[in-house]
């Protein structure tokens, strides 16, 4: 032990010797070291690089950059490109979605039921596994796979081409004004794919203060678990307000609107935090605009399919299966005359209606904490059950897919849904607690229970307040 301490003393002595030398060398040591490295790099480069083209960036790149990052056109171009991507997704996803659901639900589900009946499997097991677990999985696949298979490759193409850093460049000034780090624009963009990924990406931000802001506000980036909800509800309630020929465009516009609201909330929250509990100046950073590169289309399709679509889909299935079982259980375990689900819905309905939602939505959000992806199937199933629309579904606790978006709309309307419910669901889907994976990631990244709870509770409260305000305005008008 003694010799060990002795050694440590010598180490500390060494450090203080270095400290004394640093005093002698003066303040600009860091700069002069950096300069030396730069000079050496220059001399090596000049010996080995010949015919350096002064105009390294070609003309079209420069003018394209001027255009997409210009003060006037930067944001409209961003808005148009995003709208185009969503419009293609909404228009393109319908047909494959119906195809998948007709196979998985119309054909395969009765087959499984028939098989289990012929094997004499008891109702409880058969219901839990086939009506609960299998159907929830089938629903997730048929509803989520087509939009993801269209959305992710398109988004990845934009990314590969080099557009996303330009978005970050455009957003940078806004984030700086909000007292946050400009790189938050990058983590926010990653959040559009997955919030948990966005939270991890916040590691690129050096200052702990700004990193925390980026982590807390990442939830306001609409993640891919929520895109399908937005797209479906917008098609049912917003698109139907417009003439049929424009419905797709109007729905796409509504989804982009919600996404932009998310960006806005992210900025406002950043600003609020940096003016109160997380005070400080925004630090500067340099963002290198990468050259535009022609995307390698086939490989992009392949990697975005493997890397994003399949992984996200798998996650959704993993969470949907147990959730499907929970739904089946809460709607089939009865105390006296009512099921557990009905007790909860009846109890919360008065409060929920007051803020333009309903008890079904509340229950669905509790069941769907593990994954936002299954909110809509849960809502549909619970709606059918409580309104007693026998004949549309396959009985209590069965998650099902309807053949068309129109029929889905009919069910929701029969469940007492109005345009207000649709709008508020879209808003609440944007502004509520992060999914359990993201909450866990926030805890791992911040290491702070306090900030994890804040990141979870703050959006719920904000969401309820926003829905309340929208409902009050709606009731007035």
């Amino acid at each position: 032990m003694k010799s060990n301490n002795n050694l440590l003393d010598k180490n500390i002595e060494l450090v203080s010797y270095a400290d004394s030398l640093r005093w002698e060398l003066g303040e600009n040591l860091h700069d002069s070291i950096t300069e030396t490295i730069f000079e050496d790099a220059y001399s090596i480069a000049s010996k080995s690089v010949s015919s350096i083209d002064k105009k390294v960036r070609t003309n079209w790149e420069v003018s394209l950059d001027r255009l997409v990052t210009s003060r006037i056109f930067g944001f409209p171009i961003m808005f148009l490109l995003l709208s185009l991507v969503f419009w293609l997704t909404i228009e393109g996803a319908n047909v494959p979605s119906q195809f998948l659901s007709s196979i998985l639900i119309d054909d395969f589900h009765p087959m499984l039921k028939g098989l289990s009946a012929s094997l004499g499997i008891p109702h409880f097991i058969d219901g839990l596994l086939i009506d609960g677990a299998y159907l929830s999985m089938a629903w997730v696949i048929s509803v989520m796979l087509p939009p993801m298979a269209i959305f992710f490759p398109l988004f990845t193409l934009l990314e590969d081409f080099g557009y996303l850093p330009r978005v970050a460049f455009n957003m940078d000034k806004l984030f700086q004004k909000a007292g946050a780090h400009g790189k938050q624009a990058l983590t926010m963009s990653m959040g559009f794919g997955c919030n948990a990924a966005g939270v991890i990406a916040a590691r690129v931000i050096d200052s702990p203060r700004e990193r925390l802001i980026a982590i807390i506000t990442n939830n306001f980036s609409l993640c891919n678990g929520r895109w399908p909800t937005q797209i479906l509800i917008a098609s049912i309630f917003i698109g139907s307000l417009a003439p049929a020929s424009l419905a797709g465009l109007v729905s796409a516009g509504a989804v982009v609107g919600v996404a932009l609201l998310g960006i806005f909330l992210s900025l406002v929250t950043s600003w609020g935090l940096s003016k109160t509990v997380l005070k400080g100046e925004a630090s500067a950073f340099s963002l290198e605009l990468p050259p535009y590169r022609p995307p390698v289309i086939l490989r992009t399709l392949y990697t975005s399919l493997i890397d994003r679509t399949i992984i996200v889909l798998w996650r959704a299935i993993v969470f949907a299966v147990p959730a499907g079982m929970v739904i089946w259980l809460v709607s089939n375990i009865h105390i006296y005359d009512l099921s557990l689900a009905e007790y909860f819905i009846d109890f919360t309905n008065p409060y929920a209606l007051f803020i333009g939602l309903n008890g079904v939505i509340f229950l669905a959000y509790i069941i769907a904490i593990p994954a936002n992806e299954i909110v809509i199937p849960t809502i549909l199933m619970l709606t059918v059950m409580t309104t007693g629309l026998i004949g549309t579904g396959q009985g209590n606790g069965v998650m099902f897919e309807l053949d068309s978006i129109k029929e889905t709309g009919d069910i929701l309307r029969a469940g007492g849904w109005t345009v207000l419910t649709g709008i508020n669901l879209m808003l609440f889907s944007l502004i509520h607690n992060p999914c359990s994976t993201t909450i866990y990631t926030i805890y791992k990244e911040t290491g702070s229970l306090k900030w994890t709870i804040f990141s979870t509770v703050y959006p719920i409260i904000l969401g309820l307040v926003v829905c309340f305000l929208v409902a009050q305005i709606w009731f007035l008008v």
């Binding site: 180490n11 790099a41 480069a45 080995s48 390294v56 070609t58 996303l164 590169r293």
Partner: protein
């Protein structure tokens, strides 16, 4: 901890420090060598990583995509290589999380080879990082990536001259079209096995005053930690007041970086 076995069979012996690698979370079971992949952001590290490993890590035209480390492996000439993709950084001087991840890995993990991926269209700027990495480790290979883009922009790079200057192998590559990969694999193998002996460039333009301080300090460092291969670099970091290095010196942890090429030591298993 200091239980060293001098291994007589130096030629075939990996020089990496297993204990430190395990501490950094690298599972070395079944691997002969560890290769680190470093470079500026958005130079194509992840694409090279995918090419070498056959993995499909998502690549993107996006600086700062790889935040934490990704790992994979490949086999070449009967040797199993573990490859670690480090986050892209512009320097190893400041202390953001990603720069620290990269630097600590090269410093404490002592990879057998560090592949430095540079953007050929911005060689001068990328060399800043190359020079800093060469201060820490002897064993490196430069992958002159995006060489096709450089050619398109009329930038001609004399890779033999560059290799002579830097004292390490330089391989022109284009990861997107998979050219130069075989040569890269070959050089990684040669440097790892010691077939190619690197004579890395060391930054020399410091002022007399700074040089004197570095010399005095590194002399003292060597007496305390005689096996340290990069005492000069540690001296500079101490002079700059780098907290991680100060802590590592105070705790003696810096002494665990004690394996040098000349006397290979394999940890007793």
């Amino acid at each position: 901890m200091q239980n060293k076995n001098i291994n007589s069979d130096c030629v075939n012996c990996p020089v990496h420090n297993v204990a430190n690698l395990v501490k950094l979370g690298v599972d070395m079971e079944g691997f002969n060598y560890v290769v680190a992949l470093a470079g500026n952001p958005n130079t194509g590290k992840s694409t090279i990583f995918n090419n070498l490993t056959g993995l499909r890590q998502h690549t993107g035209n996006w600086p700062g995509k790889t935040v934490s480390r990704a790992e994979g492996g490949y086999e070449f000439k009967d040797n199993k290589f573990k490859i670690v993709d480090l986050p892209g950084t512009y320097s190893l001087l400041s202390t953001s999380t990603d720069e620290e991840v990269a630097r600590n890995f090269i410093l404490f993990g002592q990879p057998d080879v560090t592949v430095i991926v540079v953007d050929s269209t911005k060689l001068e700027r990328n060399l800043n990082l190359v020079l800093q990495i060469l201060e820490i480790t002897d064993r490196a290979v430069v992958s002159l990536n995006l060489i096709d883009e450089a050619t398109r922009k009329n930038i001609k790079i004399n890779e033999r001259e560059l290799s002579k200057q830097l004292g390490i192998p330089v391989v022109p590559t284009s990861a997107r079209s998979r050219t130069g990969m075989d040569e890269l694999l070959n050089y990684i193998h040669q440097v790892a096995t010691g077939e190619y002996v690197c004579k890395p460039y060391r930054i020399k333009g410091y002022s007399k005053k700074i040089n004197k301080s570095i010399d005095e300090l590194s002399k003292r460092i060597i007496t305390l930690f005689p096996d340290l291969p990069n005492a000069r670099w540690v001296a500079i970091r101490l002079l700059e007041g780098d907290q991680t290095i100060i802590d590592a010196v105070k705790s003696g942890e810096i002494g665990s970086i004690s394996v040098s090429t000349s006397n290979s030591i394999s940890e007793a298993v």
